[in-house]
Symmetry: C2
Subunit: 304 residues, 2 copies
């Protein structure tokens, strides 16, 4: 197969909305154009914003940083060392390689230094706690250092497998919340998913085409997660009906207002432990890592 | 494994809400009790109603007829010969065997006699046209013969795979409509799904335990239907998380009001061709089978 636009061999087959084959060079152009259009369509970013890109070491965050840099945005990188054996070291190596290639500042925070523990050490739902932790730490870091916006690598496949999971469990409150741009609120920075509409497969092909460093090592705790099953299933459907994934997302965007039933009339406040914006007296991060105990201990010691 | 209630060997393992093993005899009791409870919970039926059970030859309709007869309801059977090669003959044989075993009147209508064509003959979406056809013919027959209610064999797996399909396609109007009991309206009879909450697997085990005659021949046109894929997927999830199928249905029932957004302010009327209740000038049945042409021809011939 030849590229649709030149005589070079096909590097990737785009299936939707039209079936076209593209060589490496024209695919790179196509992919960057798709991302640029998403950024414009959802008014995601401005060139004068100070952008913090969350990078885990995997392809999605790395491609996000790469393409934003290439498009002329003002970015820095943020990484959390979660202390997961066989994963975190490899991730850190990949992130450092990326920072070097991009010649971009990289900020690394160490979970153990902050909480005294790693993800290995905690009991309970590790994936859920890890999610809370990453959201909190990147927001806090970005807020304290004066960034305007945080970019995460969430892609089309992430979004629709979460939406499907929330439908299967009828988590109505969560169903109202998937969006490409979450505006800033108090000490919460603006959060943007530049790959909201972009298929994971294309991100991988772009990473390979541009020879972007990233790790393919997966976190051992995520294995068997039900959203991974949903992801595989949606890809299976996509093989039969090209475009079903994107149509599912667009249909969701068109209808998500149906799920906005409960008025969120509660006021955000400041967490009593850390002072960041929180829905309750103590924010989720300080709760799951039991930081209120640390604080009490400190106060008690002071009192003595 | 032994039965939970006696020393007999286990015939079936119930997984949800509790994991229990049951022998054949106790399973029959359990299954009939579950169906009885569904009938009461949703106020599906009264003993003084004249009930028409739609039987295709497959296990679901057959088990519905069997159990309703056993529970003392006043039932008759209704079957449509669709004229599908390698399927309809076998189906008719099974239906006749059931009627004989139950000693219950069986009404058979022949699609070709009514429309001049079979399902084989039509172009376009056969499954969709077949659905319209079956719904129309059973309703018309039941209405004209003074029945009060029509029973179909739709089970839990049918319902949730349709709901999932309607979510994936964001068919909001259809999403408001899945219910165990559809009340009568004009010339539309009341429709009841007694297996709304009952797992297909249990229906099969009951059919086998009671040695109910049925055919396992599948319609060749249904092969590869996307709802069959959804069904397999939901069963795969069920293996990992017992109860997820039923919880998905219950969550749907609790939240389906969210999808009732468009006021159905149109009036039902009578189809200009057949006189049955219709949403448009000509009902779907007369439209897909082009019966308006036949009518016109007749009128033209009269005029000559």
């Amino acid at each position: 197969m030849k590229c649709r636009f030149c005589n070079s061999p096909s590097y990737v087959e785009i299936r939707y909305p039209k079936k076209i084959n593209l060589c490496k060079e024209h695919f790179i152009e196509y992919f960057e154009d798709r991302v640029k259009k998403s950024i414009e369509k959802y008014k995601m970013l401005n060139k004068d914003e100070k952008i913090l890109v969350a990078v885990s070491g995997g392809k999605d965050g790395h491609v996000a940083a790469w393409i934003l840099k290439k498009l002329g945005y003002n970015i820095e990188l943020f990484h959390i060392n979660l202390g997961i054996k066989g994963f975190s070291d490899e991730s850190l190596r990949a992130v450092k390689a990326l920072a070097e290639r991009l010649n971009t500042p990289l900020h690394v925070v160490d979970l153990k230094e902050i909480t005294g523990k790693t993800i290995e050490d905690i009991r309970g739902k590790k994936c859920s706690i890890c999610g809370i932790t990453k959201r909190y730490l990147m927001n806090k870091f970005g807020y304290e250092r004066g960034f305007d916006v945080i970019i995460t690598g969430h892609n089309l496949d992430d979004e629709i497998s979460f939406i499907l999971n929330n439908v299967l469990n009828w988590n109505i409150r969560y169903l109202a919340k998937h969006e490409p741009v979450l505006p800033a609120h108090d000490k919460f920075l603006k959060k943007v998913k530049i790959f909201f509409e972009i298929d994971e497969y294309l991100i991988l092909k772009y990473a390979e085409a541009e020879e972007i460093p990233f790790t393919t090592v997966k976190c051992k705790f995520a294995e068997g997660a039900i959203t991974l099953k949903h992801r595989d299933y949606l890809n299976e459907l996509e093989k039969e009906r090209s475009g079903i994934k994107l149509q599912f997302l667009y249909g969701y965007m068109k209808n998500r207002h149906l799920f906005k039933v409960e008025e969120e009339d509660f006021q955000f406040r400041e967490c009593e432990v850390c002072g960041m914006t929180s829905a309750g007296k103590i924010c989720s991060f300080c709760r799951v890592w039991k930081l209120y105990k640390k604080k009490r201990k400190k106060e008690n010691n002071k009192g003595k």
